[in-house]
C-alpha cells in the first residue's frame, strides 16, 4: 500500500504521515518452519489496522514481534523510527509503556485481584499510589463498563467478556499511543463481541490511539478497521508470492482480486475441504488396516 493510499484510509484529523510502526522485510522462522517471510508493513499514526488471516498464518507472531516479545529471524521492526531490537533493556521498558496489549485470553494475573491487575502497570512504573491509584483503576474499569465491585474479585470469577474488558482496562491504564489486540472477540457471544468492538471504537475516538487488531471475526474487521491486511500462511503460498493477499479499506474486501480473500471473508472452506478428504483417503490407502488400530 503506497503512502497516499495509506493516508486515504486514515481517520479524519490524522496529519502525521510517518509510520508509528514499520516492519521491514521481517522473516520469522521456528526451526524449519517459516511463519513470516520478508513481510513489510507500515502503520501510520492514528490508523486502526485489522490483520485477518486463517489460523497459523503468523498474525499473533506479527503482533508479538512488534512489541519485542519475539525477535524476528531477519528484518527490522521500527517503532517511531527506532529499531526496537537495538534498544537496551531500559529503552525497551520505556517503549513498552507506550504500548497497550490486549491478549487473546486476557492474560490476567491469576494471583491478583481484578483491581490489582489493572493497577499493576501504574504500581510497577511508580506512576500512582494510595487513593489516586485506586481512583485511576476505578475510572479505567468504568471506561470499559465495569463497576467498582469487580475490583476485589479474582479473574477466575469473571466471565470471558468481563475478563476481556479487564484486560482492555489494564492495557489502557497507562494511556498508550499504540493498542494491540490479539483476537479480542474470539470466544465471546455476538452481543459481547459487539460490546468489545464498541469499546475499541470508543478507545480510538477518546484517546486517539493507533491500533493493530488481529482477528478472524469479519464483523469486527468491517466495524472497526480503517485498513485491512490479509495474511496467508507461508507454507501454502505459490512460488514468489507475497504473504499479504489484501491491503486496503474494509469496503474493498468483497471485491478483492484474489479469490482467496473472498473465500476467507465469506468463510468458505473451498479447496481446503477437498484437501482434507484427499488426506483421509491417502491415510487409508497408505495404511489399509488403519481402522483396525482403533477399538470398536
Amino acid at each position: 500500500m503506497n503512502a497516499q493510499a495509506i493516508q486515504d484510509v486514515l481517520p479524519p484529523g490524522t496529519d502525521r504521515r510517518t509510520p508509528l510502526v514499520e516492519l521491514r522485510n521481517v522473516t520469522l522462522r521456528f526451526g524449519r518452519q517459516t511463519i513470516l517471510n520478508k513481510l513489510s508493513l507500515q502503520v501510520p499514526y492514528g490508523q486502526t489496522l485489522v490483520v485477518i488471516g486463517e489460523s497459523g498464518c503468523g498474525k499473533t507472531m506479527l503482533l508479538k514481534s512488534i512489541v519485542g516479545l519475539i525477535r524476528p529471524t531477519d528484518g527490522q521492526v521500527l517503532y517511531d523510527g527506532q529499531d526496537i531490537h537495538r534498544l537496551n533493556e531500559l529503552e525497551m521498558t520505556e517503549l513498552r509503556r507506550r504500548h497497550g496489549f490486549v491478549f487473546q485470553n486476557a492474560a490476567l494475573f491469576d494471583s491478583m485481584t481484578v483491581g490489582e491487575n489493572v493497577a499493576f502497570p501504574l504500581v510497577h512504573h511508580n506512576i500512582a499510589s494510595g487513593r489516586r491509584l485506586w481512583r485511576i483503576v476505578s475510572d479505567a474499569l468504568a471506561d470499559v463498563g465495569l463497576p467498582d465491585n469487580v475490583m476485589p474479585k479474582r479473574p477466575a470469577e469473571l466471565s470471558g467478556g468481563m475478563r476481556k474488558r479487564v484486560g482492555l482496562a489494564r492495557a489502557l491504564v497507562l494511556n498508550p499511543e499504540l493498542m494491540l489486540y490479539d483476537e479480542p472477540t474470539t470466544g465471546l457471544d455476538p452481543i459481547m463481541s459487539d460490546v468489545i468492538n464498541e469499546l475499541m471504537l470508543r478507545t480510538r475516538a477518546n484517546k486517539h490511539v493507533t491500533s493493530i487488531i488481529i482477528t478472524h471475526d469479519m464483523r469486527t474487521a468491517r466495524k472497526v478497521a480503517d485498513r485491512v491486511v490479509m495474511l496467508y500462511p507461508y507454507a501454502r503460498l505459490k512460488r514468489d508470492e507475497g504473504q499479504i493477499l489484501y491491503d486496503g479499506p474494509p469496503e474493498g474486501l468483497d471485491s478483492a482480486e484474489d479469490p482467496r480473500v473472498g473465500q476467507f471473508v465469506r468463510g468458505e472452506a473451498g479447496e481446503r475441504l477437498m484437501e482434507m478428504r484427499q488426506a483421509t483417503l491417502d491415510a487409508f490407502r497408505d495404511t489399509p488396516n488403519l481402522v483396525d488400530r482403533y477399538p470398536r
Binding site: 526451526g31 524449519r32 518452519q33 497459523g56 508479538k64 512489541v67 519485542g68 516479545l69 533493556e89 525497551m92 521498558t93 520505556e94 513498552r96 509503556r97 504500548h99 496489549f101 491478549f103 487473546q104 485470553n105 492474560a107 490476567l108 494475573f109 491469576d110 494471583s111 499493576f120 502497570p121 510497577h124 512504573h125 489494564r170 497507562l174 500462511p233 507454507a235 501454502r236
Partner: protein, 290 residues
Amino acid sequence: MSSVSTTPPPPPWASRLPSPLYQWIYDWGEMVVSALTTVGDMAIFAGQMFVWLATRLPCRGTILPNFYNVGVLSLPVVALTGTFIGMVLAVQSYAQFHDLGLESRLGAVINMSLVRELGPVLAATMLAGRVGSAMAAVLGTMRVTEQIDALISMGANPIHYLVVPRFLACIMLIPALTIMADFMGIVGGYFYSVVILGIDHFQYLNNSRQFVGGWDFFMGIFKSFFFGGTIAIVSCYRGFNCQAGAEGVGRAATAAFVFSFVLILGIDLILNILLDAVYMAIWPHTAKLI
C-alpha cells in the same frame, strides 16, 4: 499445514552408513545438542537472575508471599519427615551396633548423619517436591496463558519480578528448614533410642556431644544454600520453558523435581568432597568414632 519434525536427509558421507545406524547417530547427536543447549540456557537464565539480584531487588509485596510459601508452609512437612528419619536411623542402626556392643555410640552416628547429610538433603528434597514443582507449575501456567508475555508487554522483567523473589525465598529459608529437619531428627532419634530401645540417656548424649561439632552443623547449613539456589533456578527455568497445554505444565513440574533432585545429590557429593578436604586441612587430627 503443520510442519512435522523429521530427520533431515542424510549428508553425502552418511550414504556409506546403513540407515538405522545413521538414525541412531542422529538421535544421539540431537540428544547431546539438546542437553548442552539446556545447560547453556539455564546458565544464561541464572546469570540474568544474578544480575537482577545485584542491581535491583523486587518490592516487598512480591517477596513476602514467596517467603511465606517456601518457609512457613514447608515447616510442618519438613519437621514431620525429619522426625521419622531420625527414628528410622535408630531402628536401622541399632541391631548392627548392638551386635558389636556399641549401641551407646548410636547417638553420635544418628546425629552426625542427620546434621551433615540427611537434614539438609531431606529439607532440600521436601522443598524440591513441595515448592519446586509448584513453582514450575505456576510459572508454566503463566507461560502458556501468556501472563509472562503480559508482564513483559507492560514493561516488567519477568526474571526480576518472578524469579528473584523465589530465589531469595529458597536461598534464605532453606537453612531454617534444614535446622528444623536436624532438630526434629535429633529429637526423633533420641526418643526412639532412649525411650523405646532403652539406650542410656547419658551415654547417648555424651557420645553425640563428643563427635558432633560446630563444623558438622556448618557443613549441613552451608550445603543447604546451594540446594536452595539450585531448586529455585531449575524450577523457575523449567516453568519459563514450559511446553503448551496441561501436559506441558505437568512435564515441567515433574522435570523440575527430577532435575533438582539429581542436581542436589550431585552438588552434595562435590561439596562433601571439598568440605572434607578443607576440614582435613584445618584439623588433621580429629576424633574417630571407633
